[in-house]
Symmetry: C2
Subunit: 362 residues, 2 copies
């Protein structure tokens, strides 16, 4: 019998929430966490959705993540805060810290929260989408386990350190920017490995820091390259962006920075030093009305979006996209048709279902 | 007789201030503007120093820039402001708006200023350096005349839209990040043209949007590519960053965004539409103590800087730099030896000297 591979989004979301609850996460926080993963699946970012549920579950079950964190503001001003996530799920700590930033923005024009003692928070794009719900401009960044070499380095020193920001339109959809700071995500290397294909030069260096087209070189101790790849194509800029994210998320909050960010999975080697608590996030929110009439801002965003859509296309393309277009296209399909899952992910969820007694099929 | 080509920094700075004053800029603002250009020359960013003085002068003399702007906050909250630069020199409006952001940060933890009706503001890195003087984390961005194609576009739609941010160390020098969002600056194309050399693929598309190694193609209606160059190497990310800067600087302030940013030089074609006032900047400042003990922050930055300096080097390199290293190296030399100027720049300054009666050689 062939397993079903497309699931209604509500079904996956409920399963996820119940799995989190099974391992001790309070109901409302389990719902919140499930919502973050569901947003990734809905927007087509499959690597960050339920495909990661078993990793979060393993960490919770092993006691490596605290299911009932007491999330605290440890220092603050009217527009800034440092949040200690008490080693909770990033999927819970992230949304709560993001709210702290947004609440401050509504009160004094802008709000900024740097977060320590937390864990992976899902897709960075989730957070500015919540800011859009409140008519704010939202930013989100996180650091993560080392995987990326600095330009001219032969070893992993930075995580994929994404940054996201979104701007609302009036009649046009919002501009939603969500980018990681290396050239490509780890997932692209995995795909090449599965297919037995070479990768383009400029994605990876091997364990000696040499450029390579062999995806296995990353697994064997190599590193992803920062956006820009080499000096000639601006690799120093991608490295700078990765370091910027690292400092705002981890040094500013008292989390582990650079090569010392702890791993996301059990049985991965712990860094040789601890220089802070957990990994770090950074959230920001700006009140649009603190700068300009919000309706006028949105009219200008509409005009900008339409202007960029009229850009003369490069040969062989249909022209530039607006940031967020690919995710919106995925979401439109998946709201209608459900979430397609790879067989390996379905197997993973079935196993979680057996371990927890939570039924996958309603 | 061979013209001298190395000038003491004070001499150039005083000449610059007197040239600005000659064309109607009040004395203290002329000093401020001269300081911004001098910082670029001192830090080795020759394209943004006195090499541009005659362009600023021409614009002031022609009445295209207002020498005595009434710079006003037109909207604000406790932590945000929109500043109208009254079409003043960006070299004056920029520092004043940056101060507004820094003052707010000292009062309420963070401060953000979006600026319209302004002009080119020199190097973005100047502004976070001023924040370091006040023990703040400073950000700066600006939009500018169109020169960069979006990924999959065949025409110029965005400026080089730089962003800068700096973080103070305790014993180590600060981390100073200052990067423009295309792969390379215009100056790299000019150098290739002068030398009659080809350029690497990934820098430029021609007027039809095709990849090219011919630097002349940029002059003939082509465009710079965004950081990442092509889809395979993350060109969509550089495009997203350029758009982020554009929205924060121009849409948020009511300046001209995207392809409508006015040109920096006289006799350049004006955009077909005006959608706001002048170009735009965006400044931010964060109080470190609003997040963490500032001394602890600086100790961690020291540790991070030392950790990254110990990165195993890639073959053929001496290992990763810390952002700001090249500019610090230039500054150390130039403080001691003076500012070396190309003969064409010296000629330009001599001509300015004749036009204004301000002596170049003290």
């Amino acid at each position: 019998m062939i397993e079903p591979r497309v699931f209604p989004k509500e079904q996956l979301r409920e399963f996820t929430a119940r799995v989190f609850a099974h391992v001790g996460v309070p109901g409302d926080e389990a719902d919140l966490a499930a919502g973050v993963l569901a947003t990734a699946d809905l927007r087509g970012i499959d690597s960050h959705g339920v495909a990661r549920l078993s990793t979060y579950f393993d960490l919770l079950e092993a006691g490596a993540i605290n299911p009932r964190p007491r999330i605290r503001v440890v220092r603050e001003t009217a527009s800034t805060a440092t949040v200690d996530g008490d080693n909770g799920l990033g999927l819970v700590v992230g949304p709560k810290a993001n709210e702290i930033a947004m609440d401050k923005a509504e009160r004094v024009g802008s709000g900024w929260a740097s977060v320590c003692n937390t864990n992976h928070f899902g897709i960075a794009g989730y957070y500015p989408l919540r800011a859009l719900d409140r008519d704010l401009i939202g930013w989100a960044m996180t650091n993560s386990t080392k995987l990326v070499a600095p330009l001219w380095g032969a070893e992993r020193m930075l995580g994929t350190n994404p940054l996201a920001i979104a701007f609302p339109g009036r009649e046009e959809p919002p501009i939603v920017i969500d980018l990681a700071t290396p050239v490509v995500p780890f997932g692209k290397i995995e795909i090449a490995l599965r297919k037995g294909e070479k990768i383009p030069l400029g994605w990876v260096v091997d364990a000696q820091g040499r450029p390579t087209d062999d995806p296995q070189a990353l697994i064997d101790g190599g590193a992803l390259l920062p956006l820009g790849s080499d000096r000639e194509h601006g690799g120093h800029k991608g490295y700078c962006l990765g370091m910027m994210v690292d400092v705002l998320c981890a040094v500013l909050s008292g989390a582990n920075w650079g090569p010392y960010a702890p791993p996301f999975m059990l049985r991965q080697q712990m860094p040789e030093r601890s220089v802070g608590k957990g990994i770090g996030h950074f959230f920001g929110a700006l009140q649009i009305g603190g700068f300009v009439d919000p309706e006028e801002f949105k009219r200008q965003i509409d005009d900008l979006v339409r202007t960029f859509r009229r850009t003369r296309p490069a040969p062989g393309t249909s022209g530039p996209l607006i940031p967020g277009d690919p995710e919106r296209a995925a979401e439109a399909l998946r709201v209608r048709d459900g979430i397609p899952l790879l067989p390996a992910v379905v197997d993973d969820l079935r196993q979680l279902s057996r371990r927890t007694g939570v039924p996958l099929d309603a």
